[in-house]
Symmetry: C2
Subunit: 335 residues, 2 copies
Amino acid sequence: MSKIKVGVVGYGTIGKRVADAIRLQDDMELVGITANTYNYKIKAANKKGIKIFPMRGLSDKDHLNHGIDSVHGHAEDLIEQSDIIVDCTPKKTGYKKWYEKRGVKAIFQGGEKADMGTSFVSQCNYADAWGADYIRVVSCNTTGLCRTLKAVDSTYGVKQAHATLIRRAADPWDIYHGPVNALVPHLVVPSHHGPDVKTILPNMELFTTSVSVPTTLMHIHSISVDLEMPTVNIEGVVDLFRSTTRVRMVYNSDGIRSTAEILEYAKDLGRERGDMPEVCVWKETIGLKNDKLFYLQAIHQESDVVPENIDAIRAACKMCSGAESIRKTNLSLGI
Amino acid sequence: MSKIKVGVVGYGTIGKRVADAIRLQDDMELVGITANTYNYKIKAANKKGIKIFPMRGLSDKDHLNHGIDSVHGHAEDLIEQSDIIVDCTPKKTGYKKWYEKRGVKAIFQGGEKADMGTSFVSQCNYADAWGADYIRVVSCNTTGLCRTLKAVDSTYGVKQAHATLIRRAADPWDIYHGPVNALVPHLVVPSHHGPDVKTILPNMELFTTSVSVPTTLMHIHSISVDLEMPTVNIEGVVDLFRSTTRVRMVYNSDGIRSTAEILEYAKDLGRERGDMPEVCVWKETIGLKNDKLFYLQAIHQESDVVPENIDAIRAACKMCSGAESIRKTNLSLGI
């Protein structure tokens, strides 16, 4: 089987992870990545042997000043050499017109508007994206909400749910965003996350409230669900989450008391970049009262959409079934 | 009318505020405070002319080394000279036996067990504490939850509620507690806050989930309520909170986007120590969907129980009605 040729446009938090993940797939070939500046990320990519296609704004030969031996034409060349592009540019900058002009399929990220492509979470709606020209992998938070709420809905039925998103202020590398020392409510309700979940799970009645907090280490969601078929069996809920792909139960009894320790654990597991793409649900935070289910889950904002991007490539290019793609992606990433 | 003589045992975050508030009441006299070390707080109290009663562990004359001219016997003398004590010692250290032995009434704080005295939130159950020997002013979080949930229950009826507590890691002065950079879920559900609310509102079906976050500036509660009598009128909810004592509506449209700006506003209002004893609800975070109400409220952990302590003194000593006490306390504190 010939490999699908994939280009990555935008090489930041998500782009660099997606590029690495593509290189781990036996049915994909990473054509290269774009660069709009020669920073440490591009230098590291160059050292890995990843081909670099500078944006037109970069001056000729400047790459030599950054220790990068060679570049490969321009971003347009990358697009023309690829069967599909994963666009990981900053939110609201997806280069859709470039891809349309050249008849190349593309995967966008959750920062783009919903009409950019078929919204996508592998385990929820892989089939919807089968053969699609444009797919939008939804945001880290929406992805995490969909994974567990879909599971709860399938087993117990969700009448309505409320999620409070306790959001990390910035990514670890990001020194420009706050708050340093305050709690910042998102002053529109519902926050966009609830409606965004409906692009994946159209019947999910979810209201979301969001607060930014001074940390860089993961988001936490506090979720309450009105169940259609109530249960008093917490172990049943635990078993449900344990058997749901890309959901990981974590245990206070193992010493995982915080998001810091989840990421320490990911490092101890030998994960690339210390990533934790699974949604982590603390067993001890699962509660049942009357007809409601409560739980806390943690979302690693930098990595949880990476496996979705890989699966989205396979869906767009009709490479294999959703179940098979999830199996292959999980295996390659050690999930 | 002769003034009620009040002593304050324990002079930390709460004790120093309660002592100042007592001095503002026309029907109370602050006998003095205890000291178990001569730190900056005690020095400041001395400068204000507050009488200091050292604990027995302190060595004689050591106060002179700290610029404190005179002390007044020992803690036991303070108790004997007082009609009532407000015990603001650290959690689980309330000196109840001392007060019982001397037949002195006492007010305890929310860190004590529920059986230490009648649990108390002025606007919810003042009458329950009428003439009580021992009252327990519940914690800042429980107080805040009771204030708004009681109002919602009275107007719309609460079937069941869920509150996610996003808790400040430590008080501003407290350099010993973390987290510095992580989110720490409270790994028992429900957290103690839900059951604690029942000590005030016995029929309130509240489940609480809690996460500590790296800030010192206030807690935020994300609350969802299943209403008995649903409404679609957000302005009605706004009016309800606006007309509820010790609840303040805050507005993003005024530039109050975060807890930092709430406290900046308190300083701009000229509040003593920059305190905000009112529960602050952001107007823009009030949401209604199907039969549910959603809102975010911020709690100033250092000050919201201060007015409750003052009212608890009046309830214990049968000084006036709850409505009258709340009126007097609010007026004295500029609420």
